[in-house]
């Protein structure tokens, strides 16, 4: 029973990582950049929804919607102002800019919302009791897992079936060839950032509901974990991000429960290193040979 409860909390945590990792992986797949500010967008999503619920007294659904809107706009603005001018710059310059954006967001949050942790009001309370109350599953865990599954399914359909989704895949393979097909690469990258940031907002709401302490640095650790998850699953791959996130959450939860809370993170990263040694492209990463 104990094991089951750790497994469920691992799956729930993993679902949050997966939602964040999906954003990471899509941006990487299409813009070919690691958006290290992605984690901080989660934090902004957390604060926006917090303010909507706490100060304005809005219902959780509306607060989530506001957070999604705010983060989508933020994602588009970040891309326009910080990354677009660097489209043809070396990737190191882009990486450093992303780190800069990350600090900028954290410090802006510090100015606006101060350093003291806010206690986040969960979007749903309570838990389901199973086996005569021996196993408690928080409703937020159930909601998180379902949200993750729906997002994953919707994204897969979007990318494989819609015109915009196909444009994204084309851009991710070859931007020049995509342009020759008539695809507006800049617009496609903007939309990718918008989607990734909207997902970050949702992840922010779900995560803060499960772990209700909200600070300007709240997004950075989950951001790094989700990045790890994306690499673990195979960066650029949507099912990979999902699988990577889920596994990472489960490993972390089990390590915390059965080995050591302090070592949990080290174990997570050790697993990553082993996986990458065996499969350099990640679990579901594809290696496509070039043909002449």
């Amino acid at each position: 029973m104990e094991f089951l409860s750790y497994l469920i909390s691992g799956i729930s945590l993993g679902s949050v990582y997966a939602i964040i990792a999906l954003g990471y992986t899509m941006v990487y797949g299409i813009a070919k950049m690691l958006n290290f500010a992605h984690g901080d967008v989660i934090m902004i999503g957390g604060y926006v929804s917090f303010c909507a619920m706490f100060y304005l007294g809005l219902p959780p659904v509306v607060a989530t919607l506001l957070a999604v809107l705010a983060c989508t706009a933020l994602g588009i603005i970040i891309e326009r102002l910080a990354y677009k001018p660097l489209r043809s710059a070396p990737s190191l310059a882009v990486l450093i800019t992303a780190i800069g954006v990350s600090y900028f967001l954290q410090n802006s949050a510090l100015l606006i919302w101060k350093a003291a942790a806010k206690v986040y009001p969960p979007v749903i309370d309570g838990s389901a009791q199973l086996f005569d109350g021996q196993l408690k599953i928080p409703y937020i865990s159930i909601l998180t897992v379902f949200a993750c599954l729906i997002i994953m399914a919707a994204l897969s359909l979007f990318v494989s079936k819609t015109k915009m989704g196909k444009a994204m895949r084309a851009c991710s393979e070859d931007k020049g060839a995509a342009q020759l097909m008539g695809i507006n690469v800049d617009a496609t990258i903007s939309i990718t950032f918008a989607i990734g940031s909207a997902l970050a907002a949702i992840a922010g709401v779900l995560m803060c509901s499960a772990y209700p302490s909200l600070m300007p640095t709240t997004g950075s650790m989950p951001g790094i974990k989700a990045f790890t998850a994306a690499v673990f699953g195979g960066i650029g791959s949507i099912p990979g991000a999902f699988l990577g996130g889920l596994l990472l959450g489960i490993i972390e939860s089990m390590a915390k429960a059965y080995i050591s809370t302090n070592l949990a993170n080290s174990i997570v990263f050790a697993v990553l290193i082993v996986v990458l040694l065996v499969k350099p492209a990640g679990l579901l990463g594809k290696y496509v040979p070039e043909k002449v």
Partner: protein, 236 residues
């Protein structure tokens, strides 16, 4: 005979490298025109400039009486210009069918299915491999797919950048046969090749490029017969 493409005095740079030095040429309706030249002469740079992927500092590119100078790269195909780029650059992780769909990206409805059948008539191999991932095709099949993909946009001018590159002689023959079939069907084609022999034998007219300049031009037959061309490009 109306002019489809007019390139007038273009100069293209890569940073400080002056790759194209004042090139002018034109392509008329229904013609196959070829640009030939050695590796590094500036053939691809010229085609990429016409397609809007690169920009000229001077002069103009006029397509069907419209100045392409200010048209963004992704809009060029909507004007009726399709480029089959050097090295094919098909979408390796997509299926053959999806690649052809991408070729028709700018089209809204219409007879896309019909055109796909037309592409399959030119390239029956593609029909057999319709659901295969494009990256698993052989080099020759990938070239066919790249050409089919370009045809899906219903181009008024088809530009081919070294379609014979890296292919076995038998496949080169096949590709050039298809180019001639397209020509017979009334397509206007701008063909860039290092394989001067093959290109000149199908072309109505040709231009010879050397280090970013046009050094000679003439009909396909004239250039094939020219002693200077024979010496430089046709192996004596």
């Amino acid at each position: 005979m109306s002019t489809v493409l007019k390139v007038d005095d273009i100069n293209v740079y890569y940073g400080s490298i002056h790759a194209i030095k004042g090139i002018s040429f034109e392509v008329n309706e229904g013609e196959i025109v070829t640009l030939i030249g050695a590796n590094g002469a500036g053939k691809s740079t010229t085609l990429n400039t016409v397609s809007g992927l690169l920009r000229s500092r001077t002069g103009s590119v006029t397509f069907l009486d419209q100045d392409l100078g200010k048209v963004p790269a992704h809009k060029v195909v909507t004007k009726g210009l399709a480029l089959v780029p050097e090295g094919r650059r098909i979408f390796q992780q997509m299926t053959v069918q999806e690649n052809l769909d991408m070729g028709a990206f700018i089209r809204k409805g219409g007879n896309i299915e019909e055109d796909m059948e037309m592409v399959f008539d030119y390239f029956p191999r593609l029909k057999e491999r319709r659901w295969q991932i494009a990256g698993t095709l052989s080099g020759g099949e990938q070239q066919m797919l790249a050409m089919g993909r370009a045809l899906m946009s219903q181009p008024k001018l088809l530009m081919l950048d070294e379609p014979s590159m890296g292919l076995a002689p038998i496949l080169v023959e096949q590709i050039f046969e298809i180019i001639q079939n397209l020509h017979k069907a009334g397509k206007t084609i701008l063909l860039v090749e290092q394989n001067a022999q093959a290109a000149l034998s199908v072309a109505d007219r040709g231009y010879v490029l050397e280090t970013g300049k046009i050094v000679t031009s003439g009909t396909g037959a004239e250039l094939l017969a020219s002693p200077a061309i024979k010496k430089a490009y046709l192996g004596g």
